[in-house]
Symmetry: C2
Subunit: 334 residues, 2 copies
DNA sequence: GACCCGAACTGAATCGATTCACAGATCGAC
DNA sequence: GTCGATCTGTGAATCGATTCAGTTCGGGTC
């Protein structure tokens, strides 16, 4: 029922090939014919069928982006950066939310595979190396986001999480804290592991850092651990906490704030990671390790587009340095 | 180069039609053949080509969702609800971010139109009535999200914004505030207009509410207005502020907190809208008008799928009632 | 044994845009 | 006046999965 190229061609009195040329290579067509075709398109309300174009082209003009958590402002910022860069090249981005769930992640990879997307940007949770290889075999490049490629098989854009973890822990030590704890998980997320490792390296010994694992990097999980800490006798509480990300830090803050006897930063100093917008507006403004989120997204997209244009390109690893932003939550005790 | 149905058929020693049947109507095929085809698919690493399927089917299995701001947790929650409902029907969701920009919104509508999406969910900023009519003519239903349909031409799922605005203003009056202000904009967003109107109705007269317009519903804009308010002589400041959403409220809070002489809620009480996760973790925990965000998304998707299944269906309007959540930011003055 | 029926499978036609080898037309140069 | 070059425009072939009118075959009925 909806009009196709054929209908447009007929109404404009030209062939279908000419209509296609007007759409894709207007310079090959005389001005007079161009106007006639444009008029016919307007009259019929013709809209190109993307499926037919893609079928012929062999690949779509969409880029798939899979993030660990859309509700984390860090990832929406990354997505925004990626989207802006893609838009400049006439491509669009489909955002998938794995929710730190390997099954959901796999489902999105399947979907993008069937859609023959132009490329895939992914912040992985499961073991995706094999999947990404298969995609590449089908001509679909992939770039890891916010996570360094373990082997050099695939390009990646990330932040030096080990350095970030070290900065956070060192800062807590510098403000006089001695009983440090790390809150975060699951360990299947490499960023988490790297951040713990960085914190440990600042302490000089593995046994001096208490690790309180969470099942996800969410406000809810932070709140859960925060309650557990508040329930301890004061002497058993840590006096400095490094949270795997700001969401967890915000949860900790919520739980601790409800207990009048646990004061931040008086009794416990707190450092987060990501420096999301809300960090500076928290109950106690949050000290955090900042990542250049939009830049990460934009850079990853750029690497991806390069590889899409030239499949032979060798994988590249881009690593940004994080930056400590000090606020009230880690002020020295009185 | 990648394997197609034809290759699979050849390897399994059957016709292409049979391969298609194995994929789409396995019950029509004998178990023995089914296994042979499955084996061939695995051997060749065959992956269906979505473009070809869609071309034949005439529509895709994707739903387009356009939100005003992906960085607003309210909308990511809505998206999550919509996505969950869609997944239960084997459909996926493409998220588009209009950023309160009519041009970006139009671009996404064009994209979804070309993609012949299964349907469109939209929280509109510009005048989209005409666009949605054209989509419908092409067999693509649309449902408005977080915004009631002006005329009854299109289905919608929303919250009673007028009631929400009234609740917020009434609450401020109840806590003894008298010089009320509303912060929010732009007026092209109907929700904003409705919330002001609700607040006015609680006051009984239009002139008793000062309106401080913003260009967008963002933390940044809130911060800007907050600074302007803090710069006034104390007597000229409002003593109760109703922010169009929590992002603006958080921005106001950030700006006011930086000025030691402006205390919340002592000098100024503050009420937001949406009750996002971060509201309870703000510098001063935020009183807010809660919307059932995930439920809104889920319900909108349900209406949309109904209409996609039966194009003749009459438009329906679902309106949820908001709920006031009182926290520290609106405590009565000492 | 003739006939019918359903189950299992076949393969050509189809969806709509793009491409590309080819055809006409126009113009300038020699 | 002829040849070649350039510029416009043509239309059949193509991408890959699905569909549907047919074919084949085993078995049941009278």
């Amino acid at each position: 029922m909806p009009a196709g190229v054929k209908d447009v061609a007929q109404r404009a009195g030209v062939s279908v090939g000419t209509v296609s040329n007007v759409l894709n290579r207007p310079d090959r067509v005389s001005a007079e014919v161009r106007d006639r075709v444009a008029q016919a398109i307007a009259d019929l309300g013709y809209v190109r069928n993307a499926a037919a174009r893609q079928l012929r082209a062999g690949r779509s003009t969409t880029i798939g982006l899979i993030v660990l958590d859309v509700r984390n402002p860090f990832f929406t910022d990354v997505a925004r950066g990626a989207e802006d860069e893609a838009a400049e090249h006439g491509l669009s981005v489909t955002l998938g939310n794995s929710d730190e769930n390997p099954a959901r992640e796999a489902a999105y990879l399947d979907l993008f595979d069937e859609q023959r997307v132009h490329g895939v940007l992914i912040s992985p949770i499961g073991d995706v190396a094999g999947r990404l290889d298969r995609l590449r075999a089908r001509g679909i490049p992939a770039v890891l986001v916010d996570r360094a490629g373990a082997d050099g098989r695939v390009s990646s854009v990330s932040v030096d999480d080990v350095a970030g973890g070290r900065m956070a822990a060192q800062h807590l030590l510098d403000t006089g804290r001695r009983r440090l704890a790390f809150v975060g998980g699951p360990p299947s997320i490499r960023q988490v592991v790297d951040r713990v490792e960085g914190a440990r390296s600042a302490l000089g010994g593995a046994d001096r850092l208490e690790v309180l694992p969470t099942d996800a990097l969410t406000v809810l999980e932070g709140r859960r651990i925060g309650q557990a800490i508040a329930d301890r006798p004061p002497a058993a509480r840590p006096d400095g906490i490094f949270a795997a990300n700001d969401l967890i830090a915000m949860g900790l803050l919520q739980a601790l704030a409800m207990r009048r006897d646990v004061e931040v930063p008086g009794e416990i100093a707190l450092v987060g990671f990501d420096d999301i917008d809300f960090a500076s507006a928290a109950v106690v403004p949050l000290t955090s390790v900042r990542q250049p989120s939009q830049l990460i997204g934009r850079t990853a997209m750029r690497l991806l587009l390069d590889e899409a244009a030239d499949p032979g390109l060798a994988p590249r690893q881009v690593v940004f340095q994080p930056e400590l932003v000090v606020r009230a939550s880690s002020a020295p005790p009185p």
